[in-house]
C-alpha cells in the first residue's frame, strides 16, 4: 500500500477541470463557438412517442420537433431497434442500396411497395412520404423475468434529418456536418402505471398568457420573463420497484430546454420547479419574425414542446 492508494487521480482530475473551468465557461462564448440553445442550423429538438411507454404488440406513432431556420428539411428517416444495439440503430445498407426509383413520380402502389422494402431495411418512417410508426414486437420482453417486465426495457429510435441545399428545395444536402442524427429511448414495459408524455398548456410572457399560435410583438433590447406552463396531470406519480424489491412512489421532475434564434437567456436549462427564463431581445434583430421553443422532458422518456413566435416593434 502506498500513498498513491487514494483517489489521487480522480481528485486531481477534478481540480484540473476546475482550473480549466473559467476557460471553458468563457470558452463557449469567448471562443466564438455556437451555443446549443441558438437555433442556426437544422436541429432535431425533440421526439415524442405515443404511447410514451408501450406494451409489446402495441403500435407507436412518433412526432418530432425538427427545425431548420436556413433551409427546408428534405428528408427525415426513422429507424427502430432494441436497446441491445447500443447507441442508435443501424440500417441494412445493402438492402437500402437496392432500393431504386424516383419517389416523386411513384404511384401509391409503388410507394407502398417501396415502403415495404424500406421497412425490411429497418426503417419505420421516411418523412414526408411515410409517417413513422412502429409496432413493438410481441416478444420484446421475453428475455426478462416477470418482475423485470414490470420495469421493462427500452427500444431505440434513431432519427436522421437531411436538409435541402439552400435555395434548392429539390436537392438534399448530404454533407455530414449538415445532417442531424438523434436517437431516443422508448420504454417498453408491462408497468401498471405506464408513462405519458407531459402536456404543455402554453406560454406566458411577463405573466401574461399567450394565445396558441399568436405572434407576440416584443421591443428590441428589452428583457422578458417567459414561462412554460404544464397541465396539472403532467407531473405524474408512478410506482417504481427498487433494488430491494420494494415499490416506491415517485413524482416526475421535468426538465425544460429553451431554444431561440437571436438574443439570449439567463439560462438555457431549467429544472422543475423553475419553469421560467429571462429572455433579452437583441437590440437590432436581423430576422423580422423569430421563434422560441421549449422542450419538456419528464425523465421517463416522455417529451412535449411548444413554439412561440414573435416579431419586433420598430
Amino acid at each position: 500500500m502506498s500513498s498513491k492508494y487514494t483517489f489521487v487521480g480522480i481528485f486531481r482530475n477534478i481540480f484540473m477541470s476546475l482550473v480549466a473551468a473559467p476557460a471553458l465557461l468563457a470558452g463557449c462564448d469567448g471562443l466564438g463557438l455556437s451555443q446549443s440553445y441558438q437555433i442556426d442550423r437544422l436541429r432535431v429538438l425533440a421526439v415524442a412517442a405515443d404511447p410514451a411507454e408501450p406494451r409489446p404488440g402495441e403500435t407507436v406513432s412518433f412526432t418530432s420537433l425538427v427545425v431548420s431556420p436556413v433551409s427546408t428539411v428534405g428528408l427525415t428517416t426513422w429507424l427502430a431497434c432494441s436497446s441491445d444495439s447500443g447507441y442508435g440503430c443501424s440500417i441494412d445498407e445493402d438492402l437500402l442500396s437496392s432500393v431504386t426509383g424516383d419517389i416523386s413520380t411513384m404511384t401509391p402502389e409503388e410507394l407502398a411497395a417501396l415502403y415495404s422494402q424500406l421497412q425490411a431495411a429497418g426503417l419505420i418512417g421516411v418523412q414526408p412520404y411515410f409517417e413513422p410508426s412502429w409496432t413493438v414486437p410481441t416478444d420484446f420482453l421475453d428475455a426478462l423475468t416477470e418482475d423485470e417486465k414490470i420495469e421493462g426495457t427500452a427500444a431505440i429510435v434513431t432519427v436522421t434529418a437531411i436538409p435541402t441545399v439552400a435555395g434548392d428545395s429539390a436537392t438534399l444536402d448530404t454533407a455530414t456536418e449538415n445532417i442531424e442524427i438523434a436517437y431516443k429511448r422508448v420504454p417498453v414495459s408491462l408497468a401498471t402505471t405506464p408513462n405519458h408524455n407531459p402536456v404543455v398548456v402554453g406560454i406566458t410572457i411577463d405573466d401574461v398568457g399567450i394565445a396558441p399560435g399568436a405572434v407576440v410583438r416584443l421591443s428590441p433590447g428589452q428583457t422578458y420573463r417567459i414561462a412554460c406552463e404544464l397541465s396539472r396531470d403532467s407531473l405524474e406519480e408512478y410506482t417504481f420497484i427498487n433494488a430491494a424489491g420494494v415499490a416506491e412512489s415517485r413524482t416526475e421532475e421535468p426538465y425544460f430546454a429553451w431554444y431561440l434564434q437571436e438574443g439570449g437567456f439567463d439560462q438555457s436549462n431549467t429544472l422543475w420547479p423553475y419553469t421560467a427564463v429571462d429572455y433579452t431581445v437583441p437590440a437590432q434583430p436581423t430576422l423580422s419574425q423569430q421563434s422560441l421553443w421549449v422542450v419538456v422532458r419528464d425523465r421517463r422518456g416522455g417529451m412535449a414542446w411548444i413554439e412561440q413566435q414573435w416579431d419586433f416593434a420598430d
Binding site: 498513491k4 481528485f11 465557461l25 436497446s83 420495469e151 456536418e177 442524427i181 438523434a182 431549467t270
Partner: protein, 905 residues
Amino acid sequence: MRARHVTALLLWGLTSSPALAGPESTAALAAESRPDPAAPSAPEEPPPLTKNPALITFVDAPYPPEAQAAGLEALVTLEIEIDASGKVTAVTAPTPVGHGFDEAAIAAAQQFLFSPAEDASGPVPVIIQFDYGFVFKPIEPTATAASPEEQPVNVAGTLREMGSRRLLPHVAITVLAPPDATDDQKNAASEAATTGGWTTETDDVGAFSLRGIPEGTWTLRASDPGLGTVTEGITLTTGVAVDVRLWMRTVTADDTLYAYYDKDKNEVTQRTISMETIKRIPGTFGDPIRVVQSLPGAARAPFGTGLLIIRGSNPEDSGVYIDGIRIPYIYHLGGFESVINPGLVSAVDYLPGGFGVQYGRGMGGVVDVSTVSKWPDRNKVTWKTNALDSGAMIQGRFGKKKQHAIGLAGRRSYIDALMTPILNAAGADGFVVKPRWYDYQAKYELLGQRDSFTVLFFGFEDVLTASSPQGTAQGTDQDTQGSFGTSYSTHRFLLTWEHPFNEHLSLRFVPSFGRDYSSLVVGDSWRLFQTQWLAEIRAELPWVVNEHLKIVPGIDFIGGWSPFEVQLPFDPAGFASTDPLQEREPFTLIDDQWGWGPDPYLFANIRPLNDADRWLITPGVRATVALIPGELGTASVDPRLGSKFSLTDRWRVKGSVGLYHQPPQPYQMYRSDDKLIQLVSEQCLSGDIGVEADIGQAIHGDIEGFYKDLSDLIVGNPDFSSMDDPFFVNAGIGRAYGVEIMIRHDPVGNFFGWVSYTLSRSERRDGPDDDWYSYDYDQTHNLVGLGGYKLPWQVEVSARFQYTTGNPTTPYNLGVYDLDQDSYSGYSTAPYNSERLPPYWAVSARIDKTFTFKLWSLDLFVDLINLVHGTNPEFQLYNYDYTETAYVQSLPFIPSPGFEAKFEF
C-alpha cells in the same frame, strides 16, 4: 605553429602600506582558454589546460608615496606572461590607474613565481590576468608623535551590515578631512595619515574607538576590499564623545553552486538545484518544485500547472518526497504552488529515471525535496507575498550552545477572494469557483551532537467550493444542482535519527505518521469521504566496508488504515447502462480497508579502482509488495544497476538499467459488487546511458538517452459487458524513448542559466491487438532556455523561453444527439490522438530589485509570465454538436508582482 595558452586566471593579490603585516593573497579559479591575439593568423586551437598555474611566490609591492599621501586605493589589472617553467617573462598593465600603482604592481609581479601550467602534453607557457589590489592604511605613528593613549576617546561606535544587522569585525575605520575641509583640517588629516593616527579597525564584535580627533566636522570612513566602503559625517565638540553607528551594505555572496552531479549520491542522473537559483527563475512563482519543468525529461504541463510528466509517464507514476517520505499531493489547488514553503526548502533532487532502489512504487520520475539543514547563525524572519498567497517563516537557534535549531513557516492563500471578479470578467458569472489553501511546516534539529536528531511536522489543506445562484441550472442532472465542494488535506509527523555506531556502520531511522483526507460533495446526492491513517518507516544501515565498498540494507515500509464513505444518487451496478431514463436509487457504501507494503531493499556502492571517485557501480534490488490483508496481494522484485565512470577530469559516462513496479490503486481493483479483483503491479523496464562533460570551469554539458518498456499497464476493460466483469485489467503496454541534452552555466559571477532540450516519444497500446497511439502528453520536442543576470544596484533580471510540440489530440467529425440525455456524443473516424495541436512557445521574465536597509532587506519582484507567447492551444474544444472547433489557449500574459522582506536579529 602551436598557439599559446592565454588564460584569464582570476588571481587576486592584495597589498597595503608597508607598515602593515605581510600581504594577503588568494587565488581563485581559472577560466577557459581563448585564442592568442599575438599568434599568427589561424593558429591551431590549443588544447585545454589540465592544470592551471598556481602562485608560489608573491611579492609585496611598495605603496606609492603619492597614493599614500592622498589616501588612495587601487586595483591594477595585470597581464602576466609565464613560461613553461613558471617564471614570469613579461608583465603589462593594459588599463593603467596612475598614481604610481601601475609601476609598483608591475615591478612586484615581475618577481612572482608560479607553478607551470599544463595541458595534456605537459607544461606550457600561458598568459594570465592578475588583479593586484592596493588597500590604503595610514602609516603607524612615529615614536615622536603624541601617544594616542594619552588622549581621550572621543569617537566610538559599531559597524553593522545593513539588512542583517550583523556586526562586522576587522574593518578599517579612518577619520578623513571632509570635502569642504578648511586648510587646518586638511593639514591635520594629512599629518594624521602620515603618522598613522585617526585610524583603527573594528574588533571581533564590530566595535571601534578613536582618540584625539580635533573638534569640528569630519568624515568617518569604514573600508574593506571584500565588503565595500561607507562614509558618514561626524561633528565633534571638545570634551564630548560621539557614539557612531555605521552601517555597511555588503556585497551579497554568490549563490551556492548547485551540484548538478553529486559524486556522493548514488543516482546516475540527478539534478540538484539551489534555492537561490530557483527563486530567480521566471514563471515559477519562486516555487522549487515547478523548476523541475525546466529540466530535461519533464514535459510541459497544461495551463502552466505543475503536473510532473516525466519521461512519458503519467503524473501519478512519479513520486514526490519530502525528506524521504512520499506525499500524495505536492501542489496546492491549480498546481501553481507546491505545498511546502520555499523558505524551508534547501534543495530539490530531480531524478527523471534510473533511480536507485531507495525509491519505489513508481514508474515515472522522483522529486525529492530536502528541507533546510544548514541553520543560520542569527535568527531570521521572512515575509513573502505574491499574487496567490502570503506567508511567513522564522528560523533560529537557541540554547547555551545554540544547539537547538527551529524553523517555522506558514502560508494562506487569498485567491478565493480574487476569483469572483476574475470569473465575472471572463463571462463566467453564475458559477463561482473559490479555491483556498493553507500550509504549515515546523522543523526542529538538535545540533552539535554525535547523533543527529530532527523532527519535522508539516501539513496542508486545500478546499475548493463552487456554487451558482439558486435556481440556476448546472447542466441537466437534477442530482448535481446546488453547491460543489471538495477538499484534501495531509498532515505528517516525521522523525529522523542518525546514529553512527562506529566509523564503518551507522543507522538512519525515519519513522513518520500522518493523516490524509479527501472529500467531494456535489449537491445533495454525491458524497465521497476518505480518510487515510498512514505509518511509514524508512530505515537504512549503511556499512562502509572500506574505501571501495559500501553496503546499504534498508526498508521502505508503509502501512495504513483507510475508512471511507461513498454516497451516490444511483447504484453503480447500473452505471454501465448509461441509460438516462433509468430510475436512480441512492447508494451508500461505508467501509474501511487495511493495507501495507514492507518493501525491503539492498544496494551497494562499489568503487573498483584505486582512484575511488573515478568509477562507481551501484547494484541493488528491491521487493515491491502491496498487501490488503485477507484479500489480495501483489509482489515483485526489482533489480537495478547504475554506474558512473570518469574518463578524465572533464568527461564522464553513465548508465543504468532496472525494473520498476507500481502497485494498482484500490479503486482500480473495486468491482461494482463491492468485491476486489486481483490486478498485478504495472511494470517498467528502464535503461539509460549518457555522457557528461565539464566544458569550462562554469559550463557543463550532459547528453543522455533513455528507453522505457511498459507492460501490465492498467487500462479500462475492453471486454466489459456486465457488472460481473472488472472495470480495469492489466492489458496495456507502452514505450517511451528519447534523448535529453542540457548545457548549463553555473551561477558564477553575475550570470546563471541553462539550455535544456528533450527529444522523445511516448506511446501506448491498450491491448495486444490494438494500434499504438501517442500518449496524451507526448511532446516530441521540448526546448527550454533560461538565464539570469545580476545588474548593478541590486537588480537582477531573468528570462525563460520554452518551445514544445503540441500535445496529441483526437479529431471529432460527427456528433449524435441523445434526445433523452439532451447532449451530443462525439464520434471520430480518425485514430485516437492521431493529430497534434499547434506548438507551444512563450517567453517569461522576472525582475528583482533588492533594497537593503539598516534593519532589514526588501526584495520587490514581478514575474512576467508569458510576456510574449504564441496562440498556445492546450486542447481542442468543440461546440455542442461537434460541427465547430476552437482552441482553448493556455495562460495569457500574467504579471505577478510580490515582495519578500527579511529580518535578521
